[in-house]
Amino acid sequence: MRKRRHSKSNKRKKESTTVKEKVAKILEIPEEVVSDRPKITTVGRKEVFVENYRGIIEFTNEIVRINSNYGVITITGKNMKIREITNEDIVIIGDIDNIDYVV
C-alpha cells in the first residue's frame, strides 16, 4: 500500500499549462472546470472549500491533510470538522490557523 502511494507522489505534475488548459483559455471556459489543479476557497477563518482533490490522508480535529495533484494540502486549526465530502469537493469548518502546501 505504502509503495503505491509513494509511486503516486513521484508522479506529481509540474505546474505548467497543458494543452487542455490552452484550449480552455481560447474558448473562454473557466479554467477550474477543465484543469485538475486544486481550488481552495476560504471564507473568513471558519470555512475552507477544497475542490479538485484526490483524497484525504489524515483527518483529526487539529489537522486535515488532503492529497491533490500538486502536493499535499495541510490545514491546521482547532475543532475542525468536515461538513460535507463528495467526490469533487470537501468542506472543512472550524477555527483555521494555517493552510499549507507540502510537496
Binding site: G55, I56, I82, R83, E84, I85, T86
Partner: protein
Amino acid sequence: MFLIRLWHYLKGYVIIIVNGQSVEKFINICTRRQILLWDMERVERNSVRMKMSIRGFKNARTAARKSRCRMRILEKKGFPFLFGKYKKRKGFVLGLIVFAVLIYFMTSIIWSIDITGNYHVKADKLIEQMSEYGIYRGASKRAIDPKFLADMLMLKNRQLSWVGVEIKGTRLLISVKEGVETPMIIPLDQPCNVVAKNDGIIVSIIAKNGLALVKEGDTVRRGQVLITGILESKYPEFGSKQVHAIGEVVARTWYEIKKEVPKIKVNRMRTGLEWNKYSIYFLDLKVRLPSGKNPFELYESNIIDKAPVIGNKFKLPFGIVVEKYYELEEEEQVLDQQQAREIAENMAVEEIQQVVPKDAEIVERQLQFFAEDEKEYISITVECTEDIAAQQEIGGN
C-alpha cells in the same frame, strides 16, 4: 441549507461511528463510490462520527471491510424510519389509504339535491328534467355545469323567472324564483273580443278598440262579451269588419263565504311522553332498526336526520333517522259565543282572501251571523272593484 437538511430528512439518514486504524481510507473509498458523507467529526483517536444516507450505508459495508473499519449505527433519523414502523402494520396503512380514497371519492359526488323557492313547479319534475341531462343523486360533481343547468331549467319551465344553481360541498342547491305565468296573448293582428272574467256590475268601461256592448250599471255574467271585435257596418251590404278589441272594464264584484261557527274547540296537547323510532339509511334505502311498536294512539311526529356532515358542507348519503313520536291528549273546550264567533271570523277572513283575486281592490266587507238548523253560521261578503276584461278569440269559448 435548510432544503438540503429537509431532503436528507425525507430520504432518511444514519449517524454512524466508524472505528479503525485508517478511517481516512474508509472516507476515501466512500467518496469514490459517490456516497455522500457530512457532519464528520473525530470523537476519539480511532473513531470518527459522521452522517450518511440510508442507501450509502448499504454500500458502505464493503468499504468498511476493505479499510478494516467497523461501523456502528448511533442513531437512525428521518422520515423512512418513522414510516418504517407502520410498514409492518399493513392493515393500518391499507385502511389509511382506503380512508383517503373514500373521502375523496365520496366528496366528489352529489349526494343531495335541494330545490327551494318553488310553489307551483313540482320539485320532482325539475329533478326528472335534470336526470335527463345526467344530473342526479350520485352523479359526479365535475359533470355539472351550473350555468348550463340553470339555462336548461329556465328553458324547460316557463313559470320560472330565475334559477340559481350552486354546488356546496356534496349538495346541489337549486333556488328558483317563480314568476307570474304570462297570460295567453292574442297577437295584435288577430281579431278578438273582450269578455267578462267574473260576474259583476260594470263601474266603467273604456273601449280602446272595438265596440262596447254594455254600459255602466249593467250586470254582466262571466263569459259575456263586453267589447266586441266584430264591427257591423251601418249599411248591411258592406258586411262586417273584425278588429282586435282592447278595453278596460272595471266592475264591482262580490265574493261570499259561509262557515259554521264551532261550538267546541279541540285542543291537542303533548302529554310529555315520547317514543323514538330509529332507522338507518343509505341514499333511499331505509332500514328500520327494531325498536318496538308505536305505543300511542294519538300522536304527532317529528323527523330528525342525523346524517354525518363534514364541516356543514359535505353531507354524506347515509345516516340515522330518528322519528320522535309525542303522545297527544285531546281536550274539548266549550266556547262561549264571543270566542266562537271570533274564531269563525278569523277563519272566514283567511279563506276569503284566497278566493279574491290579487289585483282586486276590496271596497267593503260585511259580516253576518245567522242561525239555521240550530247551528250558527257566519257569512262574509266582500265587495271589490276589479278589471274583469279578458281577451278571447272570436268564436272561442
